[in-house]
Amino acid sequence: MKDVVIIGAGIHAFGRFDKTAEEIGSHAARMALADAGLAWSDIQASYLSRMYLPATSGARILRKLGGTDMPIVDIEAACASGGAALRQGVLAIRSGECDVVMVLGAEKMPRGFMDPRMIYADWQIEMGLSLNPSYWSMRAMRHMHEYGTTDLQIAKIAYKNHRNSVHNPNAMYRKEFSLEEILGSPLVCDPIRRLEICAPDDGAAAVVIASADYARKIGARAPITIAGSVHTIARYSADFRCPADSMSATANNEGPTEVTARKAYEQAGLGAEDVDCFEVQDTDAFCELEIYEELQMCPVGEGGRLIDEGVTEITGKHPVNMSGGLISKGEPVGASHLGQVVEIVSQLRGESGARQVEGARVGLAHVLGAGGNCAITILRK
């Protein structure tokens, strides 16, 4: 199988901007091209990850860069859209058809809770079963009941991520909050509070990926290997954060993160202990805690201990969300995974400044959302 490497990375800050999707998307794409030292005419295929943007957004954004004969395809897989799009790019290169591909994530989202019609049935919306955070919150409640996870442990994750974001110029909120402020912020859906939850916003991020041969041929600076690229939809009832109308009390299918991590670690030939830094889906602070367990950083039920012991701090053994996570960056759904990937590339190149993980050689990016969609990308220096 051909080795696929990232040779260029670009990002438009996440936040609220008086700019079109074409403007923020082409900004990230041009930055990735410049980073790769390539011209738009060198690219042989492009994939756009987006959820809210309209049909043909890939073409609308990228034709700004000039005319092209290449395929440009929009990809949607809920919060995992970016991982699904990156995987398509990887497959295009592994197949041998392409040497160099652009993968762009871009999004512009309305304010407030996500539009429920995108993921819920009409009757669920009418009965009030369509507030996205309620499903994640129910998972948190059950975890607290079973394992004794506390409000304070959940708040500590939000505290860590907000604090990390102070050093990230591309985050929407770059403000440190005290534990008292976080625990004093209003409940959205018990036990999840306002300062523990991510907001929708705008943003874009892009990578130029290539076969290792092509990267060598053009003398690419600091190529980063895509060691694992996996997207899955979990089996029936494996995860009730997907808005199903009923869940099984008996089937015990592997959850979306568990199955995706198993496949991604296998593809990369490594395990959690080999990963130096993680960017994961902190839709809310509890979600990150549970992902510690599902990515095998610790046994099930011990996520709270990890945050208590500082294991997931930038200086810890398993740093998580050095960028500040979605809690501080916001979640422009289509762009969020590519944003994580750009952060990991920066970490592995040693270019992350105050949020740099010392000596990082392997990094993992993880997204998870509606429908049980999960994607994981593992990168290696």
Binding site: P116, I125, E126, G128, A244, S248
Partner: protein, 141 residues
């Protein structure tokens, strides 16, 4: 027009979800389906088993009484075409585990701050002013 909704106008919030006569709310229950191939039970009248894909599925009645397996309190007005109380009042939703082996996502009635995991709750059909019959699980007396 009369003040009350004509009986013939009652309709379920989702087709295939309920059993019984909608104009006699006490007779209404939740419809379920069971798969002969894998034994999985699912909510509503289904023709395919989402667990194994088999089409050998038959209807079963679901019990009215269950236990709260987990819950949360919705403290902001849900987006879109929400038909609950106006002005918005916080309410609990939960996964209610039924003895047939499934957990139903549903509103839980009563004081939202009094809901607890393990609490026994009972299915209650209720008719909205627009004639749509929906449901809630109320704390068992």
């Amino acid at each position: 027009m009369t003040d009350s909704t004509p009986l013939s106008d009652f309709r379920p919030v989702r087709s295939g979800l309920m059993t019984g006569a909608l104009d006699d709310l006490a007779s209404v229950g939740l419809a379920g389906s069971r798969c002969r191939a894998c034994g999985e039970t699912t909510l509503g009248a289904n023709t395919l088993c989402p667990n194994c894909g088999s089409d050998d599925v038959f209807p079963i009645a679901l019990s009215d009484e269950g236990k709260v397996w987990t819950y949360t309190v919705v403290r902001y007005r849900p987006p879109g075409d929400y038909k609950g109380a106006e002005p918005f009042q916080p309410f609990a939703i939960g996964l209610v585990e039924l003895p047939e082996g499934l957990r139903v996502v549903a509103p839980v009635g009563g004081d939202p701050d009094a809901v607890r995991i393990g609490m026994t709750v009972r299915f209650t059909a209720r008719a909205r002013a627009d004639g749509v019959v929906e449901f809630v699980y109320n704390p068992a007396a």
